[in-house]
């Protein structure tokens, strides 16, 4: 059974190597400051006890006032999993560093997040839209994208019909 490591444990390890990286540690995840993300990811990758060599997935969540980028990491050797998050606080022009230098597996997934959520990944070698065409107006997965159901506009706190 894959063990999900507690955020506090991860936070302690990270604080030793990259001081000031941890913003918040919850039971299920740890939030890392965006400017220290790459450094923190490198240390997670290189740590022999953690052995987080496999990036399961990258995705992002629109938290209405900011964006959250979520990384699911896995150790194939020790069979444990951790969740690392970072925040892009500028909702108008969100930007976080790319983790492609650490895990190549983020290459297509960060392009997907950029395409659909509009978060720029600085340092990504080939940041272009992957599903939609260049020039598509807006980013569909944002909550203020109201062409389709699933969005939330100002003045309408929940979905219509609820």
């Amino acid at each position: 059974m894959t063990v999900q490591l507690a955020g506090s444990l991860l936070a302690r390890r990270l604080e030793d190597v990259v001081p000031g990286a941890v913003v918040e540690a919850e039971a299920g995840w740890v939030v890392v400051a965006a400017e220290k993300l790459l450094e923190a990811c490198r240390s997670l990758w290189g740590d022999e006890d953690l052995d987080l060599k496999y990036l399961v997935g990258v995705t992002a969540v629109d938290r209405l006032d900011h964006f959250e980028v979520v990384y699911h990491l896995q150790s194939l050797r020790h069979n444990h999993m951790v969740v690392v998050k970072t925040r892009a606080l500028d909702h108008e022009a969100p930007e976080v560093p790319s983790v492609v230098p650490v895990w190549l597996g983020a290459l297509l997934q960060e392009r997907e997040v950029y395409d659909l959520m509009g978060i720029r990944f600085s340092g990504h070698p080939d940041l272009r839209r992957v599903f939609l065409w260049e020039g598509f107006p807006g980013y569909p997965l944002r909550k203020d994208f109201l062409w389709m159901p699933g969005g939330v506009s100002s003045g309408l706190p929940k979905f219509s019909g609820e």
């Binding site: 059974m1 894959t2 194939l76 389709m148 699933g150 969005g151 979905f159």
Partner: protein, 367 residues
């Protein structure tokens, strides 16, 4: 003496029989060799993740059928497991065993398709595919008698499965289980010693182990490259922790190894279905879940081993009947990450074989 030639750009797809859907490869060639490959996708993008955010948790189950339409059972299951983890629901034991039976039958059907079309890409014209469709057809008949559908099944439910199996299901499945090992032996006889197939696949499209891990590939691609990693063993779900099966692993990471891994997985799936059928307990198959189901505020990630790899769902709930975020960790899409590196230096016929061995389903790549 070698003369440099002007680079030539060739588009493979979007409408090409070897791309298994609408996928486009933009190859730059130097003579016959590929020097650069660019993947262009999105022709089948339906914005599934956004649509799902406007629908209730139960209404989203049919969407998952349409993402990986060759293994709808596994997609259904991955989504239902995630909602169950989010809300802390434990389905009845009979449902857990039925989930194993149907996931494994679906895996056999999906690998029949994967292997069959791969052999087509290698140059066999439809004959092996038709052999495999014979068995796939019988599996789809079993699905049809259980849930009424053959492709987009919508069978799994949050808290169980939609229907119990009908009385004629078990005798039919037993009959199929006695046939399947002979059929798979027949495929092996037909294919594994086939000289043309060996010449086309051995040493072609090599994915080294370190690149496989670094680029997050999963499923038969990761195992073909020599990593014994299977979610059914590593992070068991449904009733897999009570099952006995092996993880086939390749050695060289070439197309041949991925093909052999898939063939071997079909045999292991037969074993799994047999065990689950023997141990199938009685009782209810689902729990009553309200239509406007509201999981508590929170987030969850759960995954299954789909025929193509690690299929996971990441859901964020804000306490309303609609998910706040619905993300699919699609193995077909992520398995394409190392493809340009794998294609470099190959000739065009080998490109087709390599793409076939990745086994992508465009419904899942583009979502």
């Amino acid at each position: 003496m070698a003369y440099p030639s002007e680079p030539l750009v060739i588009n493979v797809g979007p409408q090409h029989p070897s791309t298994h859907g609408v996928f486009r490869l933009r190859l730059t060639l130097d003579g016959e060799r590929v020097i650069d490959a660019e993947m262009i996708m999105g022709y089948l993008h339906r914005s599934m993740e956004k649509l799902a955010e406007g629908r209730t948790y139960t209404q989203n189950i049919p969407f998952t059928d349409r993402s990986d339409y060759l293994s709808a059972m596994n997609s259904n299951l991955a989504y239902c497991l995630t909602v169950e983890r989010l809300a802390g629901i434990e389905p009845p034991l009979r449902a857990q065993y039925l989930r194993v039976i149907f996931s494994e039958l679906q895996r056999i059907a999906s690998h029949c398709m994967a292997v069959g079309t791969y052999i087509n890409d290698c140059g066999a014209w439809q004959t092996p595919l038709m052999y495999m469709f014979r068995e796939r057809e019988k599996i789809l008949d079993l699905f049809e008698m259980t849930c009424g559908a053959r492709l987009t099944l919508n069978y799994m439910r949050i808290g169980g499965v939609s229907f119990d199996v009908p009385p004629e299901f078990v005798p039919n499945l037993r009959k199929l289980l006695t046939e399947l090992p002979d059929r798979i032996a027949e495929y092996e006889e037909l294919l594994v010693e086939n000289e043309i197939l060996i010449a086309r696949s051995v040493g072609v499209g090599v994915l080294p182990t370190d690149l496989a891990i670094a680029s997050s590939v999963s499923g038969p691609m990761l195992r073909g490259s020599g990593v014994a990693w299977d979610i059914r063993k590593a992070d068991p779900y449904a009733a897999y922790d009570a099952m006995d099966f092996e993880i086939p692993v390749g050695r060289n990471g070439d197309c041949w190894d991925r093909f052999l891994v898939r063939l071997e997985e079909m045999k292991q799936s037969v074993r799994l279905v047999e065990q689950a059928l023997e141990a199938l307990p009685g009782g209810a198959v689902n729990l009553p879940i309200p239509l406007a189901f509201r999981p508590p505020v929170g987030e969850a990630y759960a995954r299954v081993e789909s025929p193509r790899g690690e299929l996971g769902f990441y859901l964020v709930s804000d306490g309303s009947p609609h998910p706040h975020r619905f993300h699919i960790r699609a193995p077909s899409f992520i398995n394409l990450t190392p493809l340009p590196q794998m294609l470099k230096g190959l000739t065009i016929p080998d490109v087709i074989v390599t793409l076939g061995s990745v086994d992508i389903v465009m419904g899942e790549v583009d979502r």
